[in-house]
């Protein structure tokens, strides 16, 4: 083996070690972000049994339209708090049929959910939550607290929730409710 070939192999080995190190260091952060792709891929550590469910309390517009009403539903089990948070949000914004009415505009999808060690959840929704919003202070309040309460009621580790849209912080959804800070659970908007 020539010296030149030895140097090439050594350089490749160093590059490979660097790549592995980067992947190793970044891996925890990447796995804490429950993107749709990550959720679709089987978890390498503990794959959830297919069809496993948990009970969760989801929120819909009450009959009088003035408040939310809680409904017990079976939703998909998610491995870990972040994944479970994403499953809760996905179930919460899924289309429903009468007599249930959702306060989240149709067509809205969840892009990602992040949790912090401080108990804050960041829910990144698609732009339809704004573009398809019908407006009105009450509508907007119920939309926001549907998401906030769905996470804070079902996941004790989550104490407040901030809604992001298309990956960005927004002032409001429809001109009324301040979304620049995480909002705490508020059951005064629930019957």
């Amino acid at each position: 083996m020539s010296t030149r070939r030895l140097l090439t192999i050594t350089a490749l080995a160093i590059i490979a070690i660097g790549i592995v190190s980067i992947v190793w260091i970044r891996a925890p952060r990447l796995t804490s972000r429950a993107t749709p792709r990550a959720a679709a891929a089987p978890s390498p550590t503990a794959p959830a049994p297919p069809g496993r469910k948990i009970k969760a309390r989801l929120f819909y517009v009450a009959d009088d339209g003035m408040r939310l009403t809680g409904v017990e539903r079976d939703i998909a089990y998610g491995e870990g708090a972040t994944e479970q948070a994403r499953e809760i949000v996905a179930a919460q914004i899924a289309p429903v049929v009468e007599p249930l009415v959702s306060a989240v505009p149709a067509g809205t999808s969840v892009r990602a959910v992040f949790l912090t060690e401080g108990g804050e959840a960041y829910v990144d929704l698609s732009r339809e939550v704004m573009s398809a919003h019908p407006g009105g202070t009450l509508n907007e309040l119920l939309t926001v607290y549907t998401i906030v309460n769905a996470l804070t009621v079902n996941l004790p580790a989550v104490t407040s929730v901030q809604v992001l849209v298309d990956g960005k912080e927004v002032d409001t959804l429809a001109g009324h409710i301040d979304l620049r800070q995480p909002l705490a659970k508020n059951l005064s908007w629930v019957q």
Partner: protein, 512 residues
């Protein structure tokens, strides 16, 4: 007997008889009522006869006044004719046949000796239909206006707002413009009218410390507002409310010194001078509210909620905001800022900044609501809500010493922009309660009429601030109501009344 005393005795006796007669006359029952008839030819009166509670007039008197012909047939029916048109009255029937058409009367005609008496409503319900000139019977004031005379009906309301301020409101219906001039001890209000339909006095005598002691008719088209000794000045504003012309006289007066002033020694006699008085500078309002910011929600490409038939929240809020501005400026003379006066999108922070930078004393944001349920209904008033940490952080905020222009330094209180409202929440909620009270019976309210929410537009307001949701555009019935002129007037009047009451709670000496 001393005959020289006879002339003196006769004088005394004559005086005594005169006094007795005068007393007897004055003790008689009040003069019998009469119906005053106003026309281009002048003023006349015909007697009114009371039968039970019903007022009657003699058909003969009407015949003379209006050149009628009256004929009684053998069956007792009475036919009243005017230029070929007829009214037939039948005894014992509360009906009249007017040119073949039946109209009801409150009572049947009644015979009094040889005279026929008819209910006074005969004039408006029957005679007016065949007469060729307009007959306008105003029963409460026993007045009949013949022809197109301008005779506004006047009503007055007097409110003592504080020991040094009062408001006199005079409504004229139909509308009549007026000019206001001040004389030594009274204000004259001269109406552009032919005559006035008003009680005299229009306002009963007020107790002694009152700034206005009464309102009386000074001449056929003018009122005199009598002023008390503490009167210092006044401001008049005139507005149109539907078919009424409203004149508001805001009167201010001298105020007494407060308890901290040295008090004069207790009066030794009743002739001691009155306690010292401090005349206020006229035009300098004692009100705690000088500027009000009205925020018309949404605008431009941000249209807000839509109703099924296309009404837009942004248009509704602008219309109502302009009306609120008009009524406040006209009747309170306060400065009103609109966050937008046209159809454009104004960023939320700019709306609050306009109020903060102009040191507004009150911020009112107007909106219409939307619900996913089409039946949701009712107006609501919202105040800002903050989480506990934010409120504590804001209240703990201290002063910072900063250099000032020209040397030296001063303590400037630092208020975080997003938390400015935390310091005003109690007053905002007080104003919300006053709004709810004024909306009651005038604007349909939601089941929870007052609520709190993290409202972006209120959080930075550095003054009492509320957001009013006038109703639901997503409810078909409410959408019709919200776009209705009468409803908007009621809502605007309610907001105005709440502002007046809120101002009074903040004004020293105002009603609490």
């Amino acid at each position: 007997m001393n005959f020289r005393a006879i002339p003196r005795l006769l004088t005394v006796a004559t005086l005594a008889i005169s006094i007795t007669l005068a007393a007897a006359l004055s003790s008689q029952s009040p003069p019998s009522p009469s119906l005053t008839i106003l026309s281009r030819d002048g003023r006349r009166a015909i007697p009114i006869a009371m039968l039970g509670d019903q007022e009657f007039v003699a058909l003969d008197d009407l015949t003379t006044l209006f050149q009628l012909t009256v004929r009684e047939d053998t069956l007792g029916a009475v036919t009243v004719s005017y230029k070929g048109k007829t009214i037939v009255l039948t005894p014992d029937q509360a009906l009249a046949s007017v040119s073949g058409r039946l109209v009801s009367l409150p009572a049947p005609p009644s015979r009094n000796g040889r005279r026929w008496l008819v209910p006074s409503e005969f004039i408006s319900r029957a005679l007016a239909l065949i007469y060729d000139t307009r007959l306008d019977l105003r029963k409460p004031s026993r007045l009949l206006v013949v022809g197109d005379l301008r005779v506004p009906r006047l009503t007055a309301r007097y409110e003592s707002l504080s020991p040094s301020a009062a408001r006199l409101t005079i409504d004229a219906n139909p509308r009549a413009l007026s000019t206001v001039t001040q004389d030594a001890d009274h204000i004259t209000v001269k109406f552009d009218a032919d005559a006035l339909d008003a009680a005299n006095p229009l306002l009963p005598a007020q107790p002694a410390p009152s700034l206005v002691t009464g309102v009386r008719i000074a001449d056929p088209t003018a009122l005199a507002v009598d002023l008390g000794p503490r009167f210092a000045g006044f401001k008049s504003t005139s507005t149109t409310v539907d078919s009424t012309q409203r004149l508001v006289l805001d009167v201010i007066g001298l105020v007494q010194t407060d308890a901290s002033q040295p008090q004069p020694a207790p009066p030794a006699t009743a002739a001691q001078p009155a306690p010292p008085e401090i005349p206020p500078a006229f035009g300098q309002s004692a009100s705690a509210i000088h500027t009000i910011a009205i925020d018309a929600g949404h605008g431009g490409d941000d249209e807000g909620v839509h109703s099924a038939d296309g009404a837009k929240e942004k248009d509704l809020t602008l219309t109502v905001a302009r009306r609120v501005r008009a009524i406040i400026e006209a009747r309170l003379g306060l400065r009103v800022l609109l966050t937008r006066d046209d159809d454009r999108n104004v960023p939320i922070d700019e709306r609050t900044a306009l109020a903060n930078n102009n040191k507004a004393d009150l911020f009112v944001s107007l909106h219409a609501n939307g619900s996913m349920r089409p039946t949701t209904t009712g107006a609501a008033i919202l105040c800002a809500a903050f989480d506990k940490d934010a409120a504590q952080a804001a209240s703990a905020g201290g002063a910072e010493r900063l250099p000032t222009f020209g040397g030296g330094s001063r303590d400037i209180e630092m208020v975080p922009w997003d938390l400015a409202q935390t310091r005003h929440l109690a007053q905002s909620e007080r104003f919300a309660e006053l709004l709810q009270q004024q909306f009651h019976d005038r604007v349909p309210m939601a089941s929870r009429p007052i609520d709190r929410a993290p409202l972006r537009v209120l959080e930075s307001a550095n003054m009492p601030a509320v957001l009013i949701e006038l109703g639901y555009l997503t409810n078909a019935e409410q959408a019709k109501l919200l776009t209705n002129d009468a409803f908007q007037n009621a809502a605007v009047q309610s907001i105005f009344d709440a502002i007046v009451r809120f101002r009074d709670t903040l004004t020293p000496g105002g009603t609490q």
